[in-house]
């Protein structure tokens, strides 16, 4: 494990990949600290897999450089990089049994006595009893763990995971997320994980980079990205957001006030990306509450009045509402099941929420960016 003592941050500078006239990865700068669990999150075609393939060496960058620690690996052959990949479809060798699949990398590097290492890693992924089986005789989840073991046994400085859980059903995926996180904590290697599943990224990663059109939209911890999205794309792609266009009317005492369709909205200046002009205010659906239009709104909260419930789905722990605003937007509200009354479609309601839970984005953006993609990816 001496590789871990060296400083092994993965650094990408100005990394670019063009396929003909299409730019898949656009001037990417990224630094991934050693030992972290890093997720590249984005819809299909955003360039995340291409980025991963350039790090593994399976794709040559058009421009830019790749460093692992102080060593540049931009033009190093894939089989000479201290990097291993867990492929999307696992790509296990069908002619070899599980033991030989896992031992493959060690043997190619000329390691003579592989038994102890293979046994150890198979124990780590809890597959020791299946060592003699062929890959096709294993379930999807087991194959996935073989793929992880086959890559991990080489003790790479960086382990790349390309949508490793994509082929698994939901229940197994949850289980494997926890499993992968456990393995990562145990071995302490840098994991770079590519996924389109925002929940998966948030569950596992310490740091997430949201990618869109070959660029990184925002980088940060899951909490940061969720609570303070920097762009409408991140706000819509990572979970759901209610975004409403408005104009900044003033700023005092760390509070920005906004006029949104005739409503006075207040938000913390620290959470607003603009301090004048056009703004898009946002609030997450679970932070919004509904009251009947006739009831009195508690003081100190942001309020949007004149809404009409257009859809109410009761799902046990919560009720999901769609509320149509007078200006034609549909906002969503998740109300936890605390025994409150359920508003039927057609009921006139007002939305209100804690002003401190509001965030403000640059008003010049497309308010819908990232929303459709998320629906697609969620399928």
């Amino acid at each position: 494990m001496n590789t871990l003592d060296a400083v092994g941050d993965l650094r990408l500078t100005g990394l670019t990949k063009r396929f003909g006239s299409f730019t898949a990865v656009d001037d990417l700068d990224l630094s991934i600290p050693q030992g972290s669990f890093f997720a590249l999150l984005g819809a299909s075609g955003c360039g995340k897999t291409t980025t991963l393939r350039m790090v593994s060496g399976l794709e040559d960058p058009t421009a830019g450089r790749i460093f692992i620690g102080d060593t540049e690996v931009t033009t190093t052959k894939p089989y000479k990089r201290p990097v291993n990949t867990v492929f999307q479809n696992y790509a296990l060798f069908p002619h070899l049994n599980i033991y030989d699949n896992v031992a493959f990398g060690l043997r190619r590097r000329g390691v003579k006595d592989v038994k102890k290492q293979v046994d150890d890693i198979l124990a780590l992924v809890e597959l020791a009893h299946l060592a003699k089986r062929k890959p096709t005789q294993l379930s999807g989840g087991q194959q996935q763990r073989v793929a992880v073991a086959r890559a991990l046994i080489n003790q790479p400085q960086v382990l790349l995971l390309d949508e490793p859980l994509g082929a698994l059903d939901l229940k197994l995926r949850r289980q494997m997320q926890i499993e992968l996180k456990r393995i990562q904590t145990e071995v302490g290697l840098t994991f770079v994980h590519v996924t389109h599943d925002q929940e998966e990224a948030m569950t596992m990663a310490d740091t997430i980079a949201v990618m869109n059109a070959g660029r990184i939209e925002q980088l940060g911890s899951p909490e940061e990205l969720y609570e303070n999205p920097a762009t409408t794309f991140v706000a819509n792609f990572l979970g759901q957001s209610n975004l409403v266009a408005g104009t900044v009317t003033g700023k005092e005492d760390g509070v920005v006030t906004v006029d949104a369709h005739g409503h006075r909205i207040a938000l913390p200046a620290a959470r607003s990306r603009v301090e004048s002009g056009a703004v898009i205010i946002g609030v997450r659906p679970e932070k919004v509450e509904l009251i009947a239009a006739t009831a009195e709104v508690p003081a100190g909260r942001n309020v949007l009045t004149g809404g009409v419930v257009s859809d109410a789905s009761f799902i046990g722990v919560s009720t999901q509402y769609l509320v149509k605003t007078p200006w034609g937007q549909e906002l969503s509200v998740f109300e936890q099941n605390t025994g409150k009354e359920i508003f039927r479609p057609g009921t006139e309601v007002a939305l209100h929420w804690d002003a401190s839970q509001t965030f403000g984005l640059d008003g010049s953006q497309d308010i819908e960016a990232g929303a459709e993609i998320d629906d697609e990816a969620a399928k």
């Binding site: 060496g57 052959k77 990949t85």
Partner: protein, 306 residues
């Protein structure tokens, strides 16, 4: 009691369609079995029986358990048997050496041209085997352009030294015989090879490169073992017809390159006493090939070839 008497009745009623359903597989098998009996089993038995007979066309043949037919075959025609073996093995090896890179290229680099390229590989088969071989006889003749160029480039000299041809005569040599066989049988090697290579997921190559394999080592440890079924099928489909082939030796060879097929033809058609000898050689060819193939498949099936 009523239930007991009713029960067999019910099964009798159901028995009728059940019986017919059981017969169906045999009915479907019948034409194939009949074909094999008439065109395979009976001829084999006839050949084996003829191989131990004595007599002549005029007097008629009788089974006399004359095993001497076999021993005399070996002593008289051992050169031809050896020729058949050497030519067919050489043909199979050369076909594999030429066919593997070709199939590999089409399968992994062919892209949208894959099907067209494979069609080109098979295209010559649309012309008769005989006509193609006669065409080579003309192309390789002493006064043809090919031989003139080969002579000018001193290639004929080199081949003469290697004992592949005699002087400047390319035709009627072991070289031209094997050349014709390779030309005629190459598609039989390429087709199964292509099929098995094409099935290999290119992502396995990437996995190989990711796991410390250079291009050659990826081929050696990933592609080659996965293409082995195609290699075995391709070499068998080439070797089996090649070992019995005599058209190439007849058209492109000389009396010095005779193969077992030619001897069988001579014995059976030209020699009034030759029927049993021809049969004995046919039996040797059939079962000899079978033995070689079985040994090869057994060897190839184990990990020895890997």
């Amino acid at each position: 009691m009523t239930t007991l008497t009713e029960a067999p009745l019910a099964s009798e009623v159901l028995g009728e369609p059940k019986k017919r359903r059981n017969l169906l597989p045999y009915i479907l098998l019948a034409p194939g079995v009949l074909w094999l009996v008439i065109f395979f089993l009976i001829p084999i038995i006839t050949a084996v029986s003829a191989s131990i007979q004595t007599g002549s066309l005029d007097m008629g043949f009788k089974v006399t358990w004359n095993w001497a037919n076999y021993s005399s075959t070996f002593s008289t025609y051992n050169t031809e048997v050896v020729h058949s073996l050497i030519y067919s093995v050489a043909c199979t090896v050369i076909c594999l050496a030429l066919g593997y890179p070709l199939a590999y290229f089409i399968a992994f680099r062919g892209g949208k041209w894959k099907n067209l390229l494979m069609a080109l590989v098979i295209a010559p088969a649309f012309t008769s085997f005989l006509i193609r071989t006669i065409a080579w006889e003309t192309i390789l003749s002493d006064h043809g352009t090919v031989v003139r160029i080969m002579t000018d480039l001193k290639i004929t000299n080199l081949m003469d030294h290697l004992g592949l041809i005699t002087g400047n005569h390319v035709l009627n040599s072991p070289f031209s015989v094997v050349f014709g066989m390779v030309y005629n049988f190459l598609p039989f090697t390429v087709l199964p090879l292509y099929t098995s290579l094409e099935k290999i997921d290119p992502r396995l190559h990437e996995a190989g490169r990711d796991l410390y394999c250079s291009g050659y080592r990826t081929w050696r440890y990933v592609t080659w073992p996965l293409s082995l079924p195609g290699v075995i099928a391709g070499t068998l489909l080439t070797f089996i017809p090649a070992v019995g082939d005599y058209i190439n030796a007849y058209m492109l060879g000389s009396p010095n390159t005779q193969v077992i097929g030619q001897v069988i033809e001579n014995e059976a058609l030209r020699d009034v006493f030759g029927y049993p000898i021809a049969s004995a050689m046919g039996v040797i060819l059939t079962f000899g090939t079978l033995a070689i193939v079985l040994a090869y498949v057994k060897k190839a099936g184990s990990e020895d070839l890997l």
